[in-house]
């Protein structure tokens, strides 16, 4: 409750700003239309015109809302114009990449924690790999993978994987190293083997770190999938909708694709948060 009201106010302010910008940005076109028709526009007429243009510079929120409603609820899911259809294509690639990214991240983290060579030789390169603007080379990776006859969902997933493995590696390395000397010594006094220490101490205590990274990773892998779809757009997806919208100047379509991507990201992060809550509670780690 303490944060709910301020958040609502900030969100309302963002929408209000959006409307103001919509009026300001669309006004020139409204005036030039009126000029050609030879009519004088009053202020209120101008405002109502800026809210309902067909290809506005900035569509008003309710226009985008109406478009999203039209393309999700009123269209059949199998239709190529349905945002649910495109969202599903993006979601599949995202989840595939996310699953592989998480798996790779956990494996790398375990080997980094247990093998000194890995820690010394691979870790610097993993960190360096994130300063490389990988999204920029997404088109090349996608095209090369497509040329190798790889399924295009896999090709998009590779980009998602690259973006999502890093937070997992960093978080898991931190998490697996989080048990202190005392706890590790205690495992020793129980004469537990290395694998028992791993399964019963290190892995459980890394869970909170894992979930924190998963929330970052899932958002990153959606971004990867959307950008990959810019170069692999023939089979649809939210990125393909963005690209098509930008080719034909369909601003409302661009914004609705953008907002659905945002909703998808929010839903996935929320799901991860829920999973985190349930898991930590079952493990008795919830604060």
């Amino acid at each position: 409750m303490k944060t709910l009201f301020p958040v609502a106010v900030v969100v309302a302010a963002i929408f209000a700003l959006w409307y103001v910008f919509a009026v300001v940005l669309n006004a020139p076109w409204a005036y030039s239309k009126a000029d050609r028709a030879g009519v004088e526009l009053s202020f209120s007429e101008m405002v109502s015109d800026t809210m309902a243009q067909e290809k506005p510079r900035l569509p008003a929120p309710h226009q985008v809302g109406a478009e999203i409603w039209k393309t999700t609820v009123e269209k059949k899911i199998t239709s190529k114009r349905s945002l649910i259809y495109h969202g599903w294509i993006t979601l599949r690639a995202t989840l595939l990449g996310f699953a592989f990214g998480t798996g790779l991240g956990v494996l790398l983290a375990v080997s980094i924690v247990y093998f000194r060579v890995m820690d010394m030789s691979v870790m610097p390169w993993i960190i360096a790999s994130q300063t490389v603007p990988i999204l920029a080379i997404a088109p090349m990776i996608v095209v090369v993978l497509a040329a190798l006859q790889v399924n295009d969902i896999v090709a998009k997933g590779v980009i998602s994987m690259y973006l999502s493995f890093f937070p997992v590696v960093v978080g898991m390395v931190k998490g697996l190293r989080s048990p202190d000397r005392m706890l590790l010594d205690q495992m020793k006094t129980y004469s537990s083997s290395a694998s028992q220490t791993f399964w019963k101490l290190r892995l459980p205590s890394s869970t909170p770190y894992l979930f924190a990274s998963l929330k970052v990773g899932v958002a990153a892998s959606l971004i990867g999938a959307v950008v990959a779809e810019l170069s692999l757009s023939q089979n649809g997806g939210l990125g393909a909708r963005l690209l098509a919208g930008s080719y034909y100047g369909q601003t409302i379509q661009i914004w609705s694709a953008l907002l659905s991507a945002a909703t998808l990201a929010a839903l996935m992060v929320f799901t991860m948060g829920l999973l985190e809550k349930v898991t930590l509670k079952r493990m008795g780690m919830a604060q």
Partner: protein
């Protein structure tokens, strides 16, 4: 065949060497081990591509990439100026600057802070690169639209980090400033901004990569006939992958260099912080 065998032997030798090195206590092994690892990957790449005769359309060997890199230096430089200095850097400065200023403005109202933090955190996780086509429509094909995308991308991570950083002082230090009869601006300049520096730099470091990504991806939606994103997308179409990889080398050097520069600045300015003293 000799290429494959040679690179495999090199690999085996490098592994043994690295294991030995990491167990010993030779000075400078912290640099040597990762360098050997990187070299091994390059040698393996070269050997495998030559040994299996992979088509250069799929994966050019490192040697071909470096030849192109040095031969096309002039083109790469023009692209770099267009994308980095005009697009990314302008956007980075405007975006980070305005984010920090707005965070300081918001700081006076705890109500706005509580509202902005969750919203900002949420927006920072969204695929903002998607704004690129809209920005290209609004600001035209030249670097202005790229700078605008970069502003939108870096703004929220920096804002959230700065707002968090400004909250990082403890009550004890603030009370101390009070006993010195320091006003709001004095407390801000002498206590809270310095204390926020580690957070702000965290945001600035995240923003370096985002800025490059934004500037390059925005060029996919339309650009003048120069720029790294433009070059990458057209050269992929022409199947001259060695040129694409040369651009990637530039992007990698640029990305690490930019990040390194900000990290260096951080080291200079937050030398007092425990994470820097280690």
């Amino acid at each position: 065949m000799s290429w494959i065998l040679g690179s495999l032997i090199f690999w085996a030798v490098a592994i043994v060497l690295n294991i030995r090195l990491s167990r010993s206590d030779v000075a400078g092994k912290g640099v040597a081990v990762p360098v050997i690892f990187g070299l091994t990957i390059l040698v393996l790449w070269e050997g495998m591509v030559r040994g299996f005769e992979v088509s250069p359309v799929l994966l050019p060997p490192p040697s071909a990439i470096f030849t192109t890199f040095f031969a096309k230096m002039d083109v790469l430089w023009v692209d770099l100026v267009q994308t980095f200095f005009k697009g990314a850097l302008t956007g980075y400065v405007i975006g980070c600057g305005s984010a920090i200023l707005i965070a300081i403005a918001v700081d006076r109202s705890p109500f706005l802070q509580r509202g902005l933090l969750p919203v900002g955190n949420f927006i920072a996780a969204l695929p903002i690169v998607g704004l690129a086509p809209i920005m290209v429509m609004w600001f035209g094909f030249d670097w202005h639209s790229k700078a605008a995308v970069v502003v939108a991308m870096v703004f929220f991570p920096v804002l959230v980090n700065t707002v968090q950083g400004l909250q990082a002082t403890d009550a004890m230090s603030r009370d101390l400033m009070r006993t010195y009869a320091t006003g709001y601006s004095g407390t801000l300049m002498k206590l809270r901004l310095p204390a926020a520096m580690p957070f702000i730099f965290n945001g600035l470091k995240i923003a370096t990569t985002l800025a490059l990504i934004g500037a390059i991806v925005a060029e996919f939606f339309g650009s003048p006939i120069k720029g790294m994103g433009f070059r990458i997308s057209t050269e992929v179409g022409r199947l001259s992958l060695d040129m694409v990889w040369a651009e990637i080398v530039v992007a990698a050097i640029l990305g690490s260099g930019f990040y390194g520069l900000v990290a260096l600045l951080e080291k200079r300015m937050t030398f007092w912080h425990p994470s820097q003293r280690g």
